[in-house]
């Protein structure tokens, strides 16, 4: 009665042996390749593992992990960076609750990462118990935010407003502080550094460049020849030169074109360069989205009697921007990696801190491999999971499926 009747039921799922035969040893040269590949992988892994656990000297990293996170930000004011982190994680949780699967992958990744950081065994005195506890709060705060975000009365626009307020508050109020303030004493940007600067520059770059990029994209498609010409000129010039030249222009050349008494903060100048660079690329991405809107949409809106301005704001842009969200996320990831170049103009980002640690301690002179590998791993983890999250976002948005 147990009818596994021959040839009638669905084919049984292939067993492990079947899978191996089909995917690894289907013919003689595939078998050869598999054996060759397995040998290479085996020896590479063995070498890497022995190096990481036996040969490598991780002191330059473990001696001051906080340096890599926040640079020389005064340790007694560290709670301010911590508060900023808590605010962000809470909002990430809320976004997860409100926008569900669009943000889910990212929120979960962030929670896991911070959780791991909190309990990571490091024999160092700088990571004190309060800091670990602080880190450990974050995953729970994400979950709390998620529960709050799921409440009926919380809407997307509330969360968006909160994001806007937070993103203004952190870099303008909480981190820099004020002169003569006892609660938030002034912390000059010269001591900011590490991952903090990397994140500020990349998030600030993408957020600030977005409106400029949208305007440039509209300008490039405009029917006004002068506006079109300016937009094309800006976009093509910026895209035609390396990022280093643009950063360099803002860090050195810009001062020559401003009134001689004006001084712009170093970090702000780097941010300006990042924004200008990013805006040109955003413009091209948004233009791609604009081109994908069928002309019938505009014609229909015209038939309804909408003005050009309203057609753009109400019909074209909302559809186009939805299309380009995944591209913008991809652009953010590459901007995140590109911010390492600010090291060349003398900003202490993650890479700059790494070099400072190497150059200031004579005992670490031969330990470049360890430091750069550590930095590479940080970038790798962030970029990899952000691209994973952006893939999930793309699936959730259903871009390319219509």
């Amino acid at each position: 009665m147990t009818s596994t009747s021959d040839g009638l039921g669905p084919p049984s799922p292939p067993g492990a042996m079947e899978w191996i035969r089909k995917n690894l040893f289907s013919n003689w040269y595939n078998s050869l390749l598999t054996i060759l590949g397995a040998t290479v992988v085996y020896f590479t892994l063995i070498n890497i593992i022995t190096w990481v656990f036996n040969t490598a000297d991780w002191r330059p990293v473990t001696v001051a992990p906080l340096l890599y996170l926040v640079g020389q930000y005064p340790r007694e004011e560290l709670w301010r960076a911590g508060i900023s982190l808590l605010m962000v994680t809470f909002l990430v949780g809320m976004s997860w609750g409100v926008w569900k699967r669009y943000v889910r992958a990212f929120a979960i990744f962030m929670g896991i990462l911070l959780g791991i950081l909190a309990v990571f065994p490091l024999e160092t005195t700088t990571i004190t118990l309060p800091i670990r506890v602080f880190m450990l709060i974050n995953p729970f705060l994400i979950y709390l935010g998620y529960r709050i975000g799921r409440l009926q009365s919380v809407h997307g626009r509330h969360v968006a407003t909160l994001w806007l307020i937070t993103l203004l508050l952190i870099p303008l109020v909480i981190l820099p502080g004020f002169e003569n303030s006892s609660l938030l004493p002034k912390v000059p940007t010269t001591v900011w550094g590490g991952l903090l600067i990397t994140l500020l520059l990349s998030v600030g770059g993408i957020v600030l460049s977005f409106p400029i990029g949208v305007l440039l994209a509209l300008g490039r498609r405009s029917s006004l020849p002068v506006v079109k010409l300016f937009s094309i000129f800006f976009i093509e010039v910026v895209r035609g030169v390396p990022l280093v030249t643009i950063l360099f222009m803002f860090s050195i050349i810009l001062a020559l074109f401003l009134p001689s008494e004006s001084r712009i903060d170093r970090v702000i100048r780097a941010l300006m360069g990042t924004v200008v660079f990013s805006a040109a690329y955003t413009a091209e991405n948004v233009r791609g989205g604009l081109q994908a809107i069928p002309p019938g949409q505009v014609e229909a809106a015209k038939a309804m009697g909408l003005k050009n301005f309203h057609i753009t704001i109400l019909i074209v842009l909302p559809q186009a921007l939805r299309l380009v969200i995944p591209t913008i996320v991809g652009q953010f990831i590459s901007l995140f990696k590109d911010t390492t170049l600010v090291y060349i103009v003398g900003i202490n980002d993650l890479l700059g801190i790494g070099n400072a640690v190497l150059n200031l301690n004579p005992e670490f002179v031969r330990l470049q491999m360890e430091v750069y590998l550590f930095i590479a791993v940080i970038f790798w983890v962030f970029s990899y999971f952000m691209s994973y999250a952006s893939l999930q976002l793309e699936k959730a948005l259903g871009v390319g499926e219509r």
Binding site: N23, L24, S26, N30, L33, T34, G37, A38, V40, V41, S223, L224, P225, V226, V227, F230, E236, V237, R239, G240, V241, P242, L243, V244, T245, F248, M249, I252, I253, L256, F257, L258, P259, S260, K337, D338, T340, L341, Y343, I344, L351, R366, Q368, M369, Y372, L373, I375, A376, F379, W380, S383, Y384, S387
Partner: protein, 393 residues
């Protein structure tokens, strides 16, 4: 009459589209030129205070700084213009070689990624994910400080066949030079290439017009090999001599020396870009519809013909545009050489700024050169795109 009132009323000036458009353009140009005017005014004031006029006359003055690596003769007594030229050539050399290696490696990794063998495909994926998620600058530092500065010193050089010696000071390669009678051989190589291209084009056109097989591939390949071979024997069999690096005292003499900076930049750039090219290549192959391949097999083409006549021509349409933009990225990314000390265009520009004290002219020159490279490439790309586009109905 209501209709009359609405139809015959003249459009007020603030709602006339032509007026509005003109006003928008005038206002935007006023804003842009106003900012420019203000900035240039500031600039002129500052330059007058410091006494560094905006002119390119300094390009003829003696540079006064050495350049470690140059593919054309250069001394520090030569002009700034010459130094910038050296930088440009250094950029072009590393870019062209980088593009060559990146394409070959990217092609290989892309093939591995498409392999039906699970392990090989995963190895390729690991390579791609490793390179795509780490900043290029960090990769360059890893190569330069992590690998190349840790090479053995001169006495314990790594010896590779060739002979090639690798040590802390660089790579010493055996390098061919033309001998006295080598000119004949060089001419025959050039003639072979030109003749092969002509044969290819002519025979191919004949096949397309007449529809009969002309074996253009095989015949032009034969020409390509045969003509230089004749040149080889005509020049007495020894048109080349090899400059072999020899250890003399504390260093190697002779041969072709590549600095470790150059090698680190080249390898870092090529391997980084290869990861992106592999993905471009894979996407291109996957973009060819399966039905095309099945249809081609159904009409009886051999697999090699399917590959050459069906898959590659269609994949190329998809591959070439992003590939060119990767090439451009590589060229622009070569400016990161500044951080590891290979003196290409941007690095030399920076030294020139320090030496000549003319930040703005040098800077405009450097940006103009990069822009020219980019624009030239986009023009070529656009021409190509127009030629291979599907003719849409």
């Amino acid at each position: 009459m209501v209709t009359d009132k609405y139809f015959h009323k003249k459009t007020p000036i603030w709602r006339d589209e032509r007026v509005l458009k003109a006003a928008a353009q005038i206002i935007s140009s006023l804003v842009v030129f106003g900012i420019l005017y203000w900035a240039i005014g500031n600039f002129l004031e500052i330059t007058q205070q410091r006494g560094m006029p905006l002119s390119y006359g300094f390009l003829d003055e003696a540079a006064g700084f050495p350049i470690k690596e140059s593919f054309i003769p250069y001394e520090s007594t030569m002009s700034f213009g010459r130094a910038v030229l050296v930088g440009l050539i250094n950029t072009l050399v590393v870019s062209v070689l980088g593009i060559l290696f990146a394409t070959l490696l990217g092609f290989l990794i892309g093939l591995m990624r498409l392999s039906s063998n699970w392990l090989i495909s995963r190895i390729a994926l690991a390579y791609i994910e490793f390179h795509r998620n780490i900043p290029l600058l960090v990769l360059l530092f890893l190569w330069y400080f992590g690998v190349f500065t840790r090479l053995p010193d001169v006495k314990e050089s790594i010896t590779l066949p060739g002979p090639t010696y690798i040590n802390q000071r660089g790579f010493y390669l055996t390098w061919p030079h033309l001998s006295e009678r080598g000119a004949l051989f060089a001419t025959s190589v050039a003639a072979g290439i030109i003749l092969a291209i002509i044969t290819w084009v002519v025979l191919r056109r004949i096949r397309e017009d007449k529809g009969r097989e002309t074996y253009f591939g095989r015949i032009s390949l034969t020409v390509l090999i045969l003509v230089p071979l004749i040149g080889w024997f005509a020049s007495g069999g020894e048109p080349l001599w090899f400059d072999v690096p020899v250890l003399q005292g504390f260093n190697f003499q002779g041969g072709l020396r590549l600095t470790t900076e150059f090698a680190a930049l080249l390898i870092g750039l090529a391997m980084y870009t290869a990861a992106f090219i592999a993905e471009v290549f894979r996407a291109g192959i996957l973009a060819v519809q399966k039905g095309q391949i099945e249809a081609a097999s159904a009409v009886g083409l051999r697999y090699s013909q399917v590959l050459m006549l069906i898959i590659i021509p269609q994949a190329m349409r998809v591959i070439i545009p992003p590939m060119i933009s990767q090439y451009l990225n590589l060229t622009k990314n070569s400016s990161l050489a500044l951080a590891i000390g290979y003196q290409e265009l941007f690095a030399i520009g920076k030294v020139t700024i320090n030496q000549a004290g003319r930040a703005v002219p040098v800077f405009i020159l450097i940006m103009a050169i990069y822009l020219a490279i980019s624009l030239l490439t986009s023009i070529i790309l656009n021409i190509y795109n127009k030629r291979v586009q599907f003719i849409e109905r």
